[in-house]
Structure formats: structure tokens, C-alpha cells
């Protein structure tokens, strides 16, 4: 199963409510994925102050991170430690904290993941107090790999990029081998991570997000509804069979996507939203 929620705000006056809205949305898809959850938030000044490099980590405490990274500020969020600093923080993390798992990096974005009930996790992330212009969330019912914080979504493997997935890729092992041969390194055995690495690879090769997702549709077999976000975009794509649910709602104030309508019903102005199901293998992209 798995549940997906995402919110891309167009109306700046809603930004203080991003985390509260995302928390309410996530709470409506708990039954779809009760074993773990994760979110990515774009633009929160506490997690990702403007101009600072941000790296989200598993496997280190905030105290360890601050001790190992001079000038860095670490914020605890359940299993995740979000660190921000000036300069090339990702390189500093690789050198000083080689045992840590990087679950997100870039400017203006933080990734928070953990295992357990998503409602409890949202509280432990402090999600309701988060602000920003875009957020994506995922509740996981594990099928392809173990229930660990590393296996929770979103998968963020390129700067500011995030992928959440409902479904399962059938040929992920083959594509993982191909990407490894081209130098990609993987953090988990999770099929969705292969999708995220494939998209990051295509974007690094010069494709735009729309093209990267079209290429993914050609290359990947299996079931998927994907919500992919970057530092300026919010995109949705489904496989040809389209059995994994997806609904998009759009108003002048926001664009939102969720696995089920009940997660959209919590949004302000939903009664006047244009609501539709994304067509199979059609790529939808909204830009800031």
C-alpha cells in the first residue's frame, strides 16, 4: 500500500501553516502505511536557514554532529539529525562522519524519517510547527526491504531532490546494477531508492524533471505512483496500469497530491479545488 501526501504552496500567506497542513494530511493516510514515515520540507528557517547548506543524517546524534562539524548547527527530529552550516557541508560530513547515512542534502530542504506510527513520528519531528513553501510526506507499508529509518521515504539522493513512491518496481535490481556500474552508490536495498537514483542520474546528465520522469516510465517495470520534488518543482507520474491511487487538487493558493481524497479534504479551500486523477504515464510538473 503506502500513502503519499504533498503540498506545493502558491500563496505565501499559507507558508506558516505548511507543517500543520502536512501533519493533517499525513494523519489521513496512516492506515496505508503504519510502519514508518518520512517528510521533506522546503523553506523552514529553523531546519534550513536561507543560504546555509543542509544535510539530513541518520546514525548520528546532534551532539556528535556538532562536535564533528565546526560551525554547524544540528537539529534533532526523531531518528534524523538535520545539520546546517556554511560551505560544502556534504563534503565535511563525508570526511568527519563517514558512518552516518545522508538522507538528504541541498539548500532550503530538510528530510526527516523514522520508524513507527506516522502520527507519533509527525509529533516527534515537530512537523506541525514547520513552515515553508513545499512539503512531501509518505507513510510506508514495507514490501521490498526492511522497516528501518533508511528504508523510509522520501528518498533524497540529489541536491534538493525528493522521491516518494507507492508501489513496487519489478526490475530495480537490474537498474541498480547498471547505475552502480556508472558510479552510483546506494544506501539501502530499497526499490524506491533505485528510482530516486535513476532520476538524479538523468537530472545530472542534463534532463529536466519532465524528461527524467518520462525516461523512468520507459525504463522501469512495476507499479508506481511517484511524487517527485526539487528545489523549484513538484511532479507526479503513474505507471501505465495506474492501480496505485493518486489524486491531485489545485487551487490558486496551492497544488496538492495525495493517495486518497480524505488527505486533501483537510486543506483550506478544498471545496473550490479542481480535483483530478493523474492519467497513466503522463508527467505532471508544477513549478514555483
Amino acid at each position: 500500500m503506502c500513502g503519499i501526501v504533498g503540498l506545493h504552496l502558491r500563496e505565501p500567506s499559507l507558508e506558516p501553516r505548511l507543517g500543520a497542513l502536512l501533519t493533517a494530511m499525513l494523519g489521513q493516510v496512516v492506515e496505508r502505511g503504519p510502519d514508518s514515515a518520512g517528510v521533506a520540507v522546503y523553506g523552514d528557517p529553523r531546519l534550513s536557514p536561507p543560504g546555509r547548506a543542509v544535510v539530513s543524517l541518520l546514525g548520528v546524534t546532534p551532539a556528535e554532529a556538532e562536535a564533528a562539524l565546526p560551525g554547524a548547527v544540528a537539529v534533532a527530529a526523531d531518528a534524523t539529525t538535520v545539520v546546517h552550516a556554511d560551505g560544502d557541508l556534504l563534503a565535511a560530513v563525508s570526511a568527519a562522519l563517514p558512518h552516518a547515512t545522508v538522507i538528504g542534502s541541498g539548500t532550503g530542504m530538510a528530510v526527516l524519517k523514522g520508524t513507527g506510527n506516522p502520527v507519533g513520528l509527525a509529533e516527534s519531528f515537530g512537523l506541525a510547527g514547520v513552515t515553508g513553501w513545499q512539503g512531501v510526506g509518505h507513510t510506508r507499508m514495507a514490501t521490498e526491504s526492511a522497516v528501518t529509518p533508511e528504508g523510509a521515504h522520501p528518498f533524497s539522493v540529489g541536491p534538493g531532490q525528493c522521491l516518494v513512491h507507492n508501489g513496487s518496481f519489478a526490475n530495480h535490481a537490474t537498474i541498480r546494477r547498471e547505475l552502480r556500474a556508472q558510479g552510483a552508490e546506494f544506501d539501502s536495498e530499497n526499490d524506491s531508492e533505485v528510482g530516486a537514483r535513476y532520476i538524479a542520474h538523468q537530472l545530472a546528465q542534463g534532463a529536466d524533471l519532465e524528461k527524467a520522469l518520462r525516461l523512468l516510465c520507459e525504463r522501469f517495470d512495476g507499479f508506481y505512483t511517484l511524487l517527485v520534488s526539487t528545489g523549484d518543482s513538484f511532479a507526479v507520474v503513474r505507471d501505465a496500469i495506474a492501480c496505485k491511487p493518486a489524486l491531485v487538487a489545485e487551487t490558486a493558493q496551492w497544488v496538492a497530491m495525495a493517495s486518497e481524497y480524505r488527505a486533501l479534504d483537510v486543506l483550506p479551500g478544498i471545496e473550490n479545488a479542481r480535483i483530478f486523477e493523474p492519467e497513466p504515464e503522463e508527467v505532471y510538473v508544477w513549478r514555483r
Partner: protein, 224 residues
């Protein structure tokens, strides 16, 4: 006077228990907010009006009741319906009327993928279009589409009959266009009337099974 149940105040389980345990009467359900299994398993001649969007399996297993959703419906509306009428004023998500044995399902808007999958006797009238693989493995009943149909319409069809007014993107394996004879125009007129539609039966085309895939034949291997 309809009995009012507000799902903002009482859970769906209470609503369904009340619908199962009382004699035929009128009900009005407020604030469904995408809840699953609203008005499921009714066996009485109730009239139920649901004011808003519902989630999965609304009016599933319905017998005798008339359920109207004044909004959109999620996956599997009226799945396994036996009799009665279910009407969706908005759009319906995938697998509307799945495996339903009888009754009438009317969707005023569009239905998405797999509308009428494995239908076993239900009549489905869709005011808008239907998504891909609609009436997949349909065994009996009629599917009427006033708009367009997506890919692979009627794939692996048994004896369900399909009428489409608009375009068909593609036909599924073993589904073919068939001649529209007087008896088909007559049954289509009845279905449109029952669904309170204004379309002219003469504007529709009929599709059905070529009956080549009923039994396994190795010569058909590539078609399965």
C-alpha cells in the same frame, strides 16, 4: 423526513450499523470527507443521500437501497452490488461497480480505470468517459458510456454488453464492435431512461465479446 447522520460526529461503523438494523427509510449523511465504506452492505429499501465526497467502496454489496453520492466517489463504488441503485453525481475513481451482480450504477461524471471490472450482471451508465480496461473480464450486465472510453475496452470480455457514444481509444483482447440491432437500441433506451439521461441511443456503438478466448487454445497464446 430523512434521518440525519453527521460523520463529523459519529463514525462510519455507527452509520452502517444503523442502516443494517432498521426498516426501510430515508437517510441523509453529512461530512463524509472521503471516508471509506460509507453506506456499505445495506439490505433494506433505504434511500441514502451522502452530501460530499466519499472514499473507497461506498455502497459496496448494496441490496435494494438507493444511494446517491452528491460528490465524487473513491475506488470501488458499488463494488459487488446485488440490486438497488447507486448514483454518483460527480466522478468515480477506479473499479467502479467491480464484480457487481445486479442493480444500476449511474455515474454522472467520469469513471476512471477498470470501470465495471468483472461485472456479473450490474448495469452501469456513465455520463462522461471511462478509463482504460473498463469492463475487463465482464461476464454479464451492460456498460453504457456517454463519453469516450480509454485503452483496452472490454479486454477478455465474456457476455457483458458495452455501448459507447464517443470514441474508443482501443479495444482489448477479444472485444469487437457489433451490429446495433433493434433490441439493442431498445435496451439502451431503457438504460438511458433509468439513468435519467437525454442521449439518443442511435448515437451509440455496441461492443461485445468475439468469444474466441473462452477456452484455452494454444493458437491464441499471444492474445492471453
Amino acid at each position: 423526513m430523512a434521518t440525519l447522520i453527521d460523520l463529523a460526529e459519529s463514525p462510519v461503523r455507527e452509520l452502517n450499523q444503523a442502516l443494517h438494523s432498521t426498516a426501510a427509510t430515508s437517510w441523509r449523511v453529512l461530512n463524509p470527507r472521503g471516508a471509506h465504506a460509507v453506506a456499505c452492505g445495506i439490505r433494506e429499501d433505504h434511500t441514502v443521500d451522502v452530501e460530499g465526497h466519499v472514499g473507497y467502496y461506498c455502497a459496496g454489496m448494496n441490496q435494494h437501497a438507493t444511494v446517491t453520492v452528491h460528490g465524487n466517489a473513491g475506488t470501488g463504488v458499488a463494488e459487488n452490488m446485488m440490486s438497488g441503485t447507486v448514483r454518483v453525481r460527480g466522478n468515480a475513481s477506479q473499479s467502479a461497480g467491480a464484480t457487481a451482480h445486479g442493480g444500476l450504477l449511474v455515474i454522472d461524471g467520469d469513471a476512471s480505470a477498470r470501470c465495471g471490472i468483472s461485472m456479473k450482471g450490474v448495469d452501469i451508465v456513465v455520463g462522461g468517459g471511462v478509463g482504460h480496461m473498463s469492463a475487463f473480464m465482464g461476464q454479464a450486465g451492460r456498460l453504457v458510456v456517454c463519453g469516450d472510453a480509454g485503452d483496452a475496452l472490454g479486454d477478455s470480455l465474456y457476455e457483458a454488453r458495452i455501448y459507447v457514444r464517443g470514441t474508443v481509444k482501443s479495444l482489448g483482447a477479444d472485444c469487437v464492435e457489433k451490429e446495433m440491432r433493434a433490441e439493442h437500441l431498445a435496451e439502451l433506451a431503457e438504460l438511458l431512461k433509468a439513468a435519467e439521461r437525454e442521449e439518443d441511443p442511435a448515437d451509440f456503438r455496441r461492443y461485445g465479446s468475439a468469444r474466441q478466448l473462452y477456452h484455452f487454445k494454444v493458437a491464441n497464446m499471444t492474445s492471453y
